[in-house]
Amino acid sequence: MSWAIEVQNLNVWYGDKHIIKNVSFRVPKNVIFAIMGPSGCGKSTLLRAMNRLLDLNPHARVEGQVKINGINVYGDNVDVTWVRRQFGMVFQIPNPFPHLSIYENVALGPKLNGLVKDKSQLDELVKQALQKAYLWDEVKNDLRKPASMLSGGQQQRLCIARALALKPRIILMDEPTANLDPVASSKIEELLLELKEDYTIIIVTHNPQQAARVSDYVAFLYMGELIEIGETSTVFTRPSNILTEKYVLGRMG
């Protein structure tokens, strides 16, 4: 079996605070893998360790391995730009470039990275990305308007389109629906199920019901430790660890 991502003995410290404690797991390709856990358990840190976003934090120290296609992203000769390009990332608060047009939000990445030869290729790429993010029909007549005119849910799908335009292998999502209303949230969830045909999706959520609805596999993180990992249908019907049981039942804390 070839894995989309393999995390081995990962440890993260912020200063002398041990945030991620010796976490290991593997994610198969083309699945939705959810990381759930209470606030402050280290979910977002774990996600940011995967694409080396933690490099930007001078207080963060990482030990262990994160492998994509067998290559350790923390290896000696690995180019961090290459690492980031393997991942698309979507955050809790939709963060399109508000003054740029809808079109430019998606086109900027491919342009800066030299992914396209000419204007017509770029147009096609933007259209494909917006279609994949199920936003095209809603914005195709407003491509030149600023992204800030879109609703929150549309902005989040624009951020997904922006990530897709760079053709990543893995999409990391950090609470992507935390700031959306239920209808916009369901749209994102439906979109995730479509996207896993082509990508591997790792989603962090503090909403166990969301993990139950959309994920194929789920990991439960608690105080920086990986407590349980398994098929979602098993974890939500007969969790093997009492802490997981308490968490999914809403009995924790």
């Binding site: 939500f236 019907t237 039942l249 009995r251």
Partner: protein, 210 residues
């Protein structure tokens, strides 16, 4: 002491309903056996208990569906609800079989019937029904295991008794023979349902199929 979750109020109500069913089913079986052994016609009383059991079974199903719709239960909550639906059906079946047993009373001839096998089997089966209820309410895995071995005992006793009846064919009153055979059969079915309750209990506790 932690606060109750919203779903806990519903689960407690569900348990209360099952508790009522345990009482009613035990009572129905007890009266029906007594009806046979003393040849007193108590069929109306047992039917009433059986109807009550059917009514509570419907209520249980209704509440279970509401809890699923409102709370999207998972893990042990979900297993408890699934098991409650299952055992409420089993208790209502036990009530029906008890009524079937009571209905036989009027078929029994004045004299000449030997109810030894019924006396023996009914004692075990009545204990099984009560123990099944306790196992479920107390989430007692050991008791559930014990019920499965009691069921083996019932099956053995049932097979022996039927064999004996066949040998007695022609030597005893046909009405007598038929009555005893039917009652033995109903008791054996009741034991099966007590065993299904044990299985649902074990599943509720462990999440494994039994």
């Amino acid at each position: 002491m932690s606060l109750k979750r919203p779903i806990d109020y519903g689960l407690e109500k569900l348990n209360g309903m099952i508790n009522d069913m345990i009482d009613l089913a035990g009572k129905a079986l007890e009266i029906s056996i007594e009806s046979i052994l003393t040849r007193t016609d108590n069929v109306e009383e047992v039917r009433k208990l059986s109807d009550q059991l059917m009514f509570i079974m419907d209520e249980t199903g209704e509440l279970a569906v509401q809890l699923i719709a409102r709370f999207q239960p998972v893990a042990s909550d979900l297993r408890e609800i699934k098991s409650a639906i299952q055992v409420s059906y089993d208790f209502s079946r036990i009530g029906r079989y008890a009524a079937n047993i009571a209905e036989i009373t009027k078929m029994i001839p004045e004299e000449g019937c030997d109810f030894t096998s019924i006396r023996e089997l009914s004692q075990i089966v009545l204990e099984m029904v009560r123990e099944a209820g306790k196992a479920y309410l107390n989430k007692d895995l050991k008791k559930a295991d014990k019920l499965r071995s009691m069921d083996d005992q019932v099956d053995k006793l049932y097979a022996e008794s039927i064999k004996h009846l066949i040998q007695m064919g022609g030597k005893i009153n046909t009405a007598c023979l038929l009555s005893i055979a039917l009652i033995l059969r109903y008791l054996e079915r009741i034991a099966d349902h007590a065993c299904y309750i044990a299985d649902a209990t074990s599943y509720m506790i462990t999440g494994r199929k039994y």
